[in-house]
Amino acid sequence: MAEILANGVRLHVQRLGPAPGVPPSGKTIVLLHGLIVDDLSSYYFTLANPLAAAGHDVVLYDLRGHGHSERPLTGYSLNDGIADLDGLLTSLEIHHPVHLVGNSYGGAIAIGMAVTHPERVADVTMIEGHYADEGFGEEMTETLGLVTEGIHDEKWRTWLAERGRKTMKLARRGVSLIETTSIERDLLATVPHSRAALQALQIPILAIYGGASEMLERARTLERLVAGTELIVLPDLDHRVLFNTAPYLCEVLLWWYAGRQGEPPAWVPPEVPFEPAPLSRAMLPSRP
């Protein structure tokens, strides 16, 4: 397992170089996963390998406290997450601007990185991404509350149990992250980005959101604020865009990184509608 010391924390990192025999694109793509019940495997089994197979240098890592990364008791603010990413790029000796992809909470790190370290960021892809707007800290804290309540909620427990012991294990580890670290306090203390800071972003942003997601309004605000935003709305999809549309996302990202010629690939909805999430706000039951 690749463990890299970044910003004083041991992070579990996977770097999938361009596949053998494929001409390297020269682009480094860093994939940022969501909060609590999530880790780098969400990308490993969806976007990471296809992007590497297309010639990109793909870096994915478990955020502190998640997956196989170290779980310190403190240091879970958005700024800590940004400092971890900055430290990781330094440790990996990546000095050229990178392409960030953020799913859910990972979006907040991506946008935060672009605001605070613009020289590090070539562009950002938001997949149902959060960002530190007004009320972000409160909303995150509320979601954490839903997670801890959820583990005791009969409906959600049944949903988890149907998905097997390993999903339950993942959920319990998530609850333990909330209960044993400063994550809740740290996120609540997030200082939002000013509108001016967001408006000043000079990078292209690809934003992919579900039409039925509670995140959509946030995406529309981002589109209004940042001139270079390309918003793709997938009708009827909820927060679980990454898991429900991975092959489509691959197509869109390959189009985006190949220079965005013409229109983005068209989304064809499945014949069978997606199963609704048991808790609408929670990013929790988002995995397959």
Binding site: M1, A19, P20, S41, Y44, F45, N49, K166, A246, R287
Partner: protein, 110 residues
Amino acid sequence: MNNNLHLAPEAAILAYVKRQLGAVIGDPGLLHTDITMDTTFGSDLELESIEFVALADRLRTEFGERVNFVAFLAKKQVDDMVALTVGDVVRYVASCLQEGESVRELQAHG
């Protein structure tokens, strides 16, 4: 680790994958349980996704570029991963090694 692995048949690769699985799950006793080519990582072993990543990482470290896991995994969808068997991985490793060997053999014979 095992320098003869590149010549090994499927049985030796299976034994190697089982050892690595034991290390990833943190249970060396797994060696003695009945893991066959048909055992699924998902429903049989209940391997967590992140544990599968760790397993693939170990295999990548062992076999290096001779086994292209990126190509193997890039073709799989999330649903395929649930039904993935130990045999799928073993056979893929074996096929890569055989191809690699035959290439080297051809080069040796000019």
